[in-house]
Symmetry: C3
């Protein structure tokens, strides 16, 4: 039997029209070699603090921790246990990583036409040199091939950092994190640039799991005894200063809605006191989150940290899975969002201040043209984050560019972020973005909307320049 070789189309994601394809190819070629700027993501910094860090099995690397992958398999009736996802109660799950890989390969067709499918194929072919298409028959040979790669020093995270041509990689870290891995990276003298990002959700959202314990931890790491609203703010400022000292240029905030509004000082104090004694209500929690977004914007104006706001994910929609396996298991579902009224107070207070950069992320694409582009096309403080999560895809990127650019212009965007836990997928994600953007700009060029000079400037900014400028990484 003759095996066809598994290859990636050199012109993948480009329009089939020869004129547009030619233009897209030229634009892509001009940026394909640029370093990767990764201003927002969830890679674990310990991959870089230990120079000898080694990945586990192919299943540990590519399946078990990746909720994009496990949720799709689960949607077709494959139990999470069969995929080796650990149960909170310690109940039995599959431990044979070859079996897990086999289930994945048997069902790889589920990912046809999905960004996960594209990223995985790109990783297998380009990173691990796989030459046969992944399916039930080729599963075990490919497992062996990946495992052999992972055993080599060239596949350690620091080596891949260079191979991936990463210029800077920002992690996302709890406000209470001591950043010991970032400290170790610095201390090691390694040349790679890895920066932390300040994410205070777990202490700011009163309904976060373990909030009270998180506050104790905050006291501990900040050296500020958090016994009141004012000491809370003081502790947060201490952490922001520490993060900034450690290289952070940004903060990150997640909220179900875009609602931001000041409490009076008296309200904030009383509410926080109730929270400390365990008496805060769900309504208190919502109002406090809204208030703290105002506070964080105010602090950003002072300390210059870029503020990211991720809006609209209903976390842990499937309580059965959440109870059994915990958060981040593919059960987070978007809801519709309202930025126009939600952010009215915050933008009124801080939106005209060019010292603030507030980068907005949405899971509700209907807000692109209706709300976000008009807002970002007016308020100096606003920038729009790239298409997020489900929308970081071929069609999602095209919809974003089509719906945002005409009103906001490119300079009110913030380029790309891969937003990933899956370190080996980073080049595949940036490549999909760069190709899709090149094709989109080429579409403007062959339609005479922009000329070649403009097209060239636009693809450079989309691929590289915007992210650096928006995140103050220059």
């Amino acid at each position: 039997m003759i095996e066809k070789s598994w290859t990636l189309d050199a012109n993948r994601f480009f329009d089939p029209d020869p004129a547009q394809r030619r233009a897209a190819r030229a634009l892509y070629d001009s940026v394909a070699g640029l370093p990767l700027v990764c201003p927002h993501g969830h890679v674990d910094p310990r991959l870089f603090s230990d120079p000898d860090y080694q990945f586990g099995s192919p299943s540990e690397l590519l399946i078990i921790p990746d909720h994009y992958v496990t949720r799709m398999l689960y949607s077709q009736g494959i139990p999470m246990e069969a995929l080796g996802v650990p149960r909170l109660d310690g109940g039995a799950v599959e431990t044979d990583h070859r079996k897990i890989w086999q289930v994945f390969a048997d069902n790889f067709q589920l990912f046809r036409g999905t960004p996960s499918g594209v990223w995985l194929a790109t990783e297998l072919v380009e990173l691990f040199g796989v030459r046969e298409k992944l399916n039930g028959d080729t599963a075990q040979a490919i497992y062996d091939q990946i495992a052999a790669c992972l055993a080599q020093p060239e596949f350690r995270p620091r080596a891949l950092f260079d191979r991936f041509n990463i210029e800077v990689l920002c992690t996302t870290d709890a406000a209470t994190d001591t950043l010991e891995h970032h400290q170790a990276i610095r201390a090691s003298g390694w040349h790679g640039v890895v920066r932390p990002t300040f994410r205070p959700d777990a202490v700011v959202n009163l309904d976060a799991a373990g909030w009270r314990a998180n506050i104790d931890r905050l006291s501990e790491v900040s050296g500020v005894d958090v016994v009141s609203y004012s000491t809370f703010i003081e502790a947060l400022q201490q952490r922001r200063d520490f993060f900034k000292e450690m290289g952070a240029t940004a903060t990150d905030h997640a909220s179900v809605t875009a609602f931001a509004a000041h409490l009076t000082d008296a309200e904030a104090k009383a509410l926080f006191a109730r929270a400390l004694t365990g008496d805060a209500t769900a309504y208190d929690a919502r109002r406090f989150t809204a208030h703290m977004l105002m506070e964080m914007a105010r602090m950003s104006i002072d300390d210059g940290l870029v503020m990211q706001l991720h809006v609209g994910s209903v976390r842990n929609h499937n309580e059965v899975i959440y109870t059994r396996f915990g958060p981040d298991k593919g059960c987070d579902i978007p809801q519709s969002s309202d930025f126009v009224h939600g952010l009215h107070s915050l933008l009124g207070a801080f939106g005209n201040d060019p010292r603030l950069t507030l980068i907005l992320f949405t899971l509700d694409e209907t807000t692109y043209a209706r709300e976000l582009a008009p807002l970002a096309g007016h308020y100096p403080a606003l920038r729009l984050g790239p298409p997020w999560w489900f929308h970081d895809s071929l069609n999602g990127i095209a919809r974003y560019l089509d719906q945002v650019t005409e009103t906001a212009g490119l300079q009110n965007m913030s380029g790309f972020n891969d937003d990933t836990r899956a370190y080996p997928s980073i080049p595949a994600r940036h490549d999909l973005w760069r190709r899709t953007c090149a094709n989109w700009v080429a579409g403007l060029q062959v339609r005479g909307v922009v000329d070649e000079e403009d097209a060239q400037a636009m693809i450079f900014d989309l691929a590289y320049g915007l992210a650096k400028r928006a995140y103050r990484l220059v």
Copy 2:
């Protein structure tokens, strides 16, 4: 005067780019001959119970009962009466079917670029062999030609069933229906497969017209005296069993919103008792519909009937027309929907159970990428119905595939259903779907997102496989 011949472009609905067109054509050719699977629609089963059933005039067949057609003519100021639509009060309407046809033909240009226009053209050319474009001048000759066809035995419904190459056709039937026509079809020994579908809206929605009489009818046909909530449930179970015995594989439910939530047993009993005495409020009706969706999901897990849920149509928006002509007259207007919160309880209770298949239909396209694809890409019980009603169109199908596939994948879809009362339009509707899907898959192929092998598997599933599997017709 030389008449141009009216023909259909052999490559219609395919992208003009030669590479994509070639790929689309090859994919389409590979599925064009597959039998039609029609798992959801509104064809009257009496078309098949009487082997000698004959259609009426061309206007009776193609205009008067088709609210897609009459509402467009009405929107341009043509009275419903002029189209022969019967008035509830028995008032005079046009009875000369040639005149009705003439009005339709005079205004056929209104349907340019609409799916109705495409379906009608396809029927006229492919089914009735019309060779001149329909307009005011050609109206009467074409009327004659269609009438002559309809007089022939080849145009009786059973003959067309074979000509259309229908593998299975599912009707939609009230819970109180005795399915006598289905019984007659079976008894006749005819080879065509026609299955009923259990639709209990008229007894489940307390605000349905004639609800109290419907309950009496339910008692009668089920043999269960419905005097309480528990006997109501018992009667429904009897009907589900009967439908299943008669070949049903699915139920169907319509609801203005996606809201589903359990009542306590005591609440359900008290509420139903109020309804029986005519004391239920509008709020009761909403809560009872929400509760019964839970019950229906529970029963589906027991008896294996696939559950369909059609959400978001505000019925009879135009009360003037409703009062004069009754329901289903083109006055149903979509509203926005929220599946994320609406279905939270139902999915929590039953969404993880692979014995359930719940197929969701929306009229709010904003839910495709934001809610439905993430939900279907996670919960094992969920499948997404094809683009429904207004969205069953060239652009509607493309938007659906573009917005759903990347997150949910094809295997969480349920193929196509024609959803039509207009029996002769069935091949045209399936052909539009198959061509549009072929073009869409070809788009992935020429952009290097999937290879030829994957493309072939995808078009087969879209055209045939998914519908059979989702509706358990295999």
Copy 3:
């Protein structure tokens, strides 16, 4: 240094596929020479009442009054003062128009891929004969070139009216306007057709700035002493009659939501009395606006004025800018809209009356396919306005046509309106519409959805016929 010549692609905005491009070009060529019908816009009639009206400097013409331009520059941190936008408090702003032009030119790249960028480029090249691309280096030479043009009689508004080939231009005028400039135009014997449009928002919306003074002014100009609800209605009818006498064929209404509902006569009287004494609440204002939409529809049935309704703009979202510079400064942000429930009462009362034409405009594109197309595809009184404001763009027009036509058909649309204050941009805006429509119709043609004859009829209607018919300008 060799300067490249700045030219516009003769096939701009057409698909790159050769077949579609050829078809688009042929369709465009067939309508490019048709006169411009401008049924809705904000050009100042005094441009035409004074035969010798001269525009000011290039910056006064193209930058300072154009909030599409200033808001984009402001969004990137350029103060409004630096653009010469007058402050309400009379504070200092830049008065050197060459400096303002330089800032604009230095930042012209912000408009890449935006409709403002396209319009401006078209104006500079086609109207002013600019041959070098605008940037910081070429700024002053281009300023000189435009200034030289503006000094010539060929660039006076009446001369441009002919050069632009405008068949009719409708302005938008307050209900209290005496239309003295329209009177002067008529008295002058000039051949240009300029019609007023009746816009009563400032007297109908109780929360309009200066409402009480506006009512006094209404009394004065109408000759009806407005001391009660009934005299208010009487005065409005007087103004409608006057506007109609002066050539108006339409009214225009702006509302944050689409909500319309009758008050009882007693409620209307009491509420209006409260408003006169300054005692109306915000809730009163909302209900009164809703009521007056009903009244305006009723009056339109009587007097035949076409009713326009612009829904969904949250005006003056940025209170800092509003307070400093006043309204119409690029701070108006769209919100989501609900036409299905909002217009239910109005359509029930008047929607079936073909004497009414109600043209709806939305800033919420999600309503196109979900609500507006189904409503317009049913109610005889409804027509849909073209894509409005942010959505009057290449992608916005394509989305509109794709999402509306399949359900509503072209005949339920109302063609194009440029909706502009920027008189010299009118040809560029119509040209963008005509090219984009030609390309869209060509897309249907090369996909075999419509034939050449239908395509030709469709582009004629889109470019010219629909606007004339919808606005009763025939």
